[in-house]
């Protein structure tokens, strides 16, 4: 039984990070002689403590630092500061011992194109010192489990994306690792394959294995993970079980409103409505607003209302707006969800 720990991890890339470790862009203001012009801070003091036997999810938007975290924990990224442990082994110092304990499924397929599906599994087993009989048995078992038996003797070049993904996961399980890392496991999978994958992950976990997965899919995080950390801009902004996290959002419901113009008076009245816990106006100068991609949504006239009821508030809000002669342009109600939690902590939606 092996757990995962990180302490104050920081990763700064001096140039664009590799695709596998999508980083968030933050331009350094340091003007020191040696300071590079554009540093990219991917992780900014991330501490995690994942117990053995847990399915743990790192949830966050693209560029939050999830893949960099996985990269550091799997020996592929050198932390700028801080430490990471797999079990008792410090990852950067004891790489070989760590590599024996982990199985890794990368975000992008990285199968060996010179080999057939079965050979990929057999050679992977050989790298981990399995004898030929154990290799063959385990490979057959996994090919069956992942429904790849019929294509086992074919080169993987012609495989569909979903098949490559399944084979990558089978390969990561080939040496029966204590910890399985899955970077965006169900990205690009059809719903049926996604369910198969979830089932396999749960099954593997029931054998006492620890699983760390990253996702920006809230449904997946909610359905699969026993605990979650929400990551944004390289920091851990909230951690707990999915239900604990959802309960931490004031009221649970979020009404995103857009008005024709700004009105401080209206803002105050909204606060006074029964069931409203918190009202937040978007600031135009928020770091999110600057970054272009989400400028269209989080403009100055948007207001988020956190409340313990949803639809029944709309008519009251509409009345307040017309009384203040402000046009109500857009309304979006969301029920208690991780999405709202993300919104609550970061001031922006995960999809923005």
């Amino acid at each position: 039984m092996v757990g995962i720990r990180t302490h104050d991890l920081r990763k700064v890339y001096n140039s664009a990070p590799p695709l596998a470790a999508g980083g968030t862009f933050a331009f350094s203001t340091a003007r020191g002689k040696k300071a590079p012009k554009n540093e990219i801070v991917a992780l900014n003091g991330l501490s995690l403590n994942i117990s053995s036997g847990e399915i743990f999810g790192l949830l966050g938007p693209n560029g939050a630092g999830k893949s960099t975290t996985v990269g550091i924990l799997t020996t592929r990224v050198r932390p700028t500061e801080g430490q990471a442990w797999i079990g008792e082994h410090e990852v950067w110092r004891e790489q070989v011992a760590v590599k024996r304990l982990i199985g890794v499924v990368a975000q992008r397929p990285n199968l060996d194109f010179s080999l057939t599906a079965r050979e990929i599994l057999l050679f992977h087993g050989a790298y981990f010192g399995l004898d030929s009989r154990a290799r063959a048995e385990r490979a057959d078992e996994l090919l069956d489990r992942f429904k790849l038996r019929e294509r086992a003797e074919q080169m993987v070049r012609g495989f569909s994306g979903g098949m490559m993904h399944r084979l990558s996961i089978a390969r990561a399980m080939m040496h029966d690792p204590q910890i399985l890392f899955l970077d965006e496991p169900s990205a690009g999978l059809d719903p049926q394959t996604r369910l198969l994958l979830w089932e396999i992950i749960r099954e593997y976990n029931q054998r006492g294995k620890t699983i760390l997965l990253t996702t920006h899919n809230l449904e997946e995080a909610d359905a699969l993970c026993q605990r979650l950390a929400i990551i944004d801009h390289g920091r851990n902004i909230a951690m707990g079980t999915p239900s604990e996290l959802k309960a931490s959002v004031p009221g649970g419901f979020v009404l995103r409103l857009r008005f024709g113009r700004q009105s401080p008076e209206l803002l105050q009245r909204l606060q006074g409505l029964a069931g409203v816990r918190e009202v937040r106006a978007h600031e135009v100068a928020s770091s999110a607003g600057k970054r272009g991609a989400d400028a269209g949504l989080s403009d100055i006239n948007s207001i988020d209302v956190y409340a313990d009821r949803g639809g029944s508030l709309i008519s009251e809000i509409a009345n307040l707006a017309s009384a203040a002669s402000v046009e109500l342009c857009d309304v979006h109600i969301s029920e208690p969800s991780l999405e709202n939690l993300f919104l609550h902590h970061t001031g922006r939606s995960m999809r923005e």
Binding site: P18, V96, K99, A106, N110, L111, D112, F128
Partner: protein, 255 residues
């Protein structure tokens, strides 16, 4: 060091080479064969070249064949696997220090370069009969050949981890081609005596020592650099290229 893993990595490369045996064979031998035929047979039998040129040419062809094979065998897979297909990631996660993966590539490339180089001798003998070579010291020949093979695969490692996928063509036209033409492959180093500056400059080209070393051990009747100079230079190039190659490999493998 974990031998099981290391042997499995070698096994994987051997398996892939076996699968690609025919293309590999053509890629390795077609060019030297055509060289031997045109320069050694057509040019000589038509009288444009003296008969002795056949023997002078042999070590040069051998050096070219080894360098091409070694560089190709190590650099091309690395360029593709690091950049485009990321195939190498699975092996980087094998339970062994990642430097051993680079060394495994070098060993495999060295073996391929040795095969490619040694196969030139029977091929030349078949196509060029009679060709005079005089293997007066088999040990020094073996030593030089090994150093040349190592130089080609270490060079492959250094190039493969430094060259971007988009610049493969440039690597051949800017690095390998000038190296071959200024590498004393088609002529002995002493033939550059009329171009004294060029004669000094080409000494930075490791292929000069490779061709001259093979010339000195295989056809010593022609002028050649001293064996000691060749051994020292090739050893230095091998160590330097391996060092650069390993460093570049690490910077590619770990971000």
């Amino acid at each position: 060091m974990n031998w099981k893993t290391f042997l499995a990595l070698l096994g994987r490369d051997a398996h892939v080479a076996r699968r690609n045996f025919i293309p590999l064979l053509l890629q390795t031998f077609l060019q030297p064969m055509m060289f031997v035929f045109i320069f050694g047979r057509v040019m000589v039998s038509s009288g444009y070249m003296p008969a002795a040129y056949k023997s002078l040419l042999l070590p040069g062809i051998m050096a070219i064949s080894m360098v091409f094979t070694g560089v190709w065998a190590v650099a091309m897979p690395l360029i593709a696997e690091f950049q485009f297909t990321r195939e190498i990631e699975d092996r980087l996660l094998a339970p062994i220090e990642i430097s051993w993966l680079a060394i495994e590539k070098v060993i495999f490339g060295t073996l391929q370069a040795l095969v490619a180089g040694l196969a030139v001798i029977p091929m030349a003998w078949l196509l060029l009969r009679p060709v005079e070579f005089n293997l007066h010291s088999p040990l020094s020949f073996a030593f030089v050949t090994l150093l040349v093979a190592l130089f080609s695969s270490c060079g492959g490692l250094a190039l493969g981890c430094s060259v971007d996928q988009a610049h493969i063509g440039l690597m051949f036209s800017m690095v390998l081609t000038p190296m071959i033409f200024f590498g004393c492959t088609y002529y002995p180093w002493s033939a550059l005596a009329h171009f004294p500056i060029l004669q000094k400059i080409v000494l930075v080209n490791p292929l000069v020592y490779a061709s001259e070393g093979l010339r000195g051990t295989l056809v010593p009747q022609f002028p050649h650099l001293s064996l000691l100079a060749v051994l020292v230079a090739l050893t230095l190039f091998d160590v330097a290229l391996l060092g650069v190659g390993l460093r570049q490999f690490h910077s590619k493998a770990v971000s």
